[in-house]
């Protein structure tokens, strides 16, 4: 790998750390995500440093430009794509989600002001899907993040692409939980694929412990500024018909499901942890009822005891660490620096092919 990739990662890291010092959510972002954003950005900047040591043997790619469909409400994806662009030296255009532009534009401007060689390297704007479809033609490779509803568009583009997402993460508690679990659930209002949606537990005490954690700490991680309380309440009312309400307040909840299999036709509310008691790891697979293929990561009190489920997940970590992703995690199981620009098949089929 070229020396200049290391230099650019250094520049990117320095710019991000400096940016964080000056970052003012009111001024620099459309959505106010919460105080944890800075913490996660520092973690990401430090991952850039670790990436430098993994570049040996990484093949160069033939592509010169990259088009990225960013998901809404999960700004970390943008900051995790940046190092890939600089490592492979691909000029990158970000298609912003409709509700966040300022954070990305502010950082791109900041980076360009510190290092003018980036002034034409990163670009981005919000465009609708029709406009995006036209714009993609100008780029060599496409990263798609988000909903399966993108699949028809993705097929029509006739460009090499990688499709990431959607996904979800789970917790498995063998004997205990930690208070930090609240971060796994509530960061980014559970919109990220690294957010914990289900906690599978084996010890009866855990249910009370989790309820106490939510009572004590759920208000320390307040919803993002665009959180819809109506949508939360609506989905909570809907989910309550098949689940037991263990705890709820204005903006977070715990539900428990007794059925052995999840009824996946009912929308689940955001900022809500679903509890399910299990006896063994296999019960998780049965419960998720085919949705295990969307599993992204696992947080647990005992990583070494996750024997079967680790085969389905990108990584296994301790409670409280789900959102602090490893430096070598690239959005999807099996994706590495070596193959991230290896195109997905255009015959990609998903259930909701509309």
């Amino acid at each position: 790998m070229r020396e200049d990739a290391v230099t650019r990662l250094d520049e990117l890291k320095k710019a991000l750390l400096d940016f964080i010092k000056e970052f003012d959510p009111e001024r620099d972002a459309d959505i106010h995500y919460g105080d944890f954003l800075k913490d996660l950005l520092i973690h990401t900047a430090n991952n850039y440093e670790k990436l430098k040591k993994t570049l040996a043997g990484i093949p160069e790619v033939k592509y010169k430009s990259l088009y990225v469909f960013l998901p809404g409400n999960v700004p970390m994806v943008f900051f995790e794509v940046l190092p890939l662009s600089v490592i492979f030296n691909v000029k990158t255009f970000f298609k912003y989600p409709h509700n966040e532009k300022r954070l990305y534009d502010t950082f791109i401007s900041y980076l360009s002001s510190k290092y003018p060689n980036y002034s034409d390297f990163f670009k981005g704007e919000y465009v609708n899907h029709l406009q995006a479809e036209r714009k993609i033609k100008e780029y060599d490779f496409v990263f798609f993040f988000g909903s399966e509803k993108l699949i028809p568009l993705l097929k029509r583009t006739n460009k090499p692409f990688k499709f990431f997402g959607p996904g979800f993460s789970i917790g498995v508690a063998f004997t205990h939980v930690k208070e930090d679990l609240i971060k796994d659930v509530l960061y980014f209002d559970q919109n990220g694929c690294l957010s914990m949606k289900f906690l599978f537990y084996m010890n009866d005490n855990i249910k009370n412990d989790v309820a106490n954690i939510f009572k004590k700490l759920s208000s320390t991680i307040l919803p993002s500024s665009n959180f819809s309380q109506d949508r939360f309440r609506y989905n909570l009312l809907t989910a309550s018909s098949f689940a037991n309400l263990i705890f709820h307040n204005e903006h977070s909840a715990i539900l428990e499901i007794e059925e052995e299999r999840l009824n996946d036709s009912v929308p689940l509310p955001g900022r809500t942890l679903i509890l399910k008691k299990i006896k063994k790891e296999e019960d998780v697979i049965a419960f998720l009822n085919g949705k295990i293929t969307y599993l992204q990561a696992i947080a647990t009190d005992s990583p070494s005891d996750i024997k079967i489920l680790k085969n389905y997940a990108s990584f296994v970590t301790e409670f409280g660490q789900l959102q602090y992703q490893p430096y070598n995690f690239f959005f999807k199981k099996g994706v590495t620096l070596k193959n991230i620009f290896k195109e997905d098949n255009h015959d990609y089929q998903m259930a909701e092919d509309i």
Binding site: G72, C193, P267
Partner: protein
């Protein structure tokens, strides 16, 4: 007086929202629709209520998954026009259709004018919109038409879906200088681009130079309807009560829903203004990031 007679009498002769009757209806529905009774019990611990504010509205979603009808033997059902996934089913029998006819006529603001429509009335047994428009034609006169040109006369009401209106004005060659009322049914989410009723009226006025525009806001799951004239907001009625006068999801109590569920919440974002509401948009749950959304 039995409950049906009491509710029909109230819809025909009432003037203010009757909370006591509303609670009586909820208790009746909770007793006769097991799913609804269980829902209320699970959320509140009870099925008997003394104030409407104690009652959680039922998410309209459940019309897609549950059989919400107080009687054992419906004679048919209306189906929503959703294009993907499950469709809502609203069961009916002759008594519930009697309520539908009564409330829809009282809510309808253009009585005694002939009604012309492009809506396919042959589907009146399965489409609540076709059933309602058919009933208006039977009551006030009018007919189904195949084409707008040549079939519309001064004083007519032209009743059509928003999409039909949109398609017509897109291809219309000449303006129509006839004084008519046009009622369109909303449903802008089916359009390729984002639309609201004001944009649609503006576009339509290029063709319908002398028309007055109204929007009907109705849905299969409600047997009563809201209407808004151009430059005004959707008005509630004493028998079709919006319970939360602010910006947010629509929460509505419909007395004409006596035989299914009256108090429902709909993921349509409305904004309360000047004694009425503006429809903002259907909340599409499209801000879900990259997480997998179950459901």
């Amino acid at each position: 007086m039995d409950l049906l007679t009491e509710v029909i009498d109230y819809i025909q002769n009432g003037s203010e929202f009757d909370e006591t009757l509303a609670l009586k209806i909820i208790n009746y529905q909770a007793e006769n629709i097991p799913f609804y009774g269980n829902f209320l019990k699970k959320i509140t611990g009870s099925t008997r209520f003394f104030k409407l504010s104690q009652v959680p509205p039922l998410p309209v979603h459940f019309f897609k998954t549950e059989r919400l009808f107080t009687r054992k033997h419906p004679t048919g059902y209306f189906e929503s026009s959703g294009t993907t996934g499950n469709k809502s089913k609203v069961y009916y029998d002759e008594d519930s259709l009697k309520l539908y006819r009564t409330s829809s006529i009282i809510a309808y603001p253009l009585k005694h004018r002939p009604l012309k429509t492009l809506i396919d009335l042959s589907r009146h047994h399965i489409s609540s919109l076709a059933f309602m428009v058919n009933h208006f034609i039977n009551t006030f006169g009018g007919k189904k038409i195949e084409s707008i040109y040549g079939e519309i006369e001064k004083g007519d009401v032209l009743f059509l879906t928003a999409l039909q209106l949109f398609e017509f004005i897109k291809t219309a060659k000449e303006p129509l200088n006839v004084e008519i009322h046009i009622i369109e049914t909303g449903g802008y989410k089916k359009f390729a681009s984002e639309y609201n009723r004001h944009q649609l009226y503006k576009e339509a006025r290029r063709i319908f130079k002398k028309a007055t525009f109204l929007t009907e806001y109705g849905m299969t799951e409600l047997f009563s309807q809201f209407y808004a004239f151009e430059n005004t907001f959707f008005k509630e009625h004493y028998f079709l009560k919006v319970t939360d006068h602010k910006r947010g999801y629509l929460k509505v109590f419909d007395f004409a829903n006596l035989f299914h569920v009256s108090y429902i919440i709909v993921p349509d974002i409305i904004e309360w203004k000047n004694g009425g509401f503006e429809y903002i948009r259907r909340d599409m749950d499209d801000e879900r990031g990259c997480s997998y959304t179950f459901g």
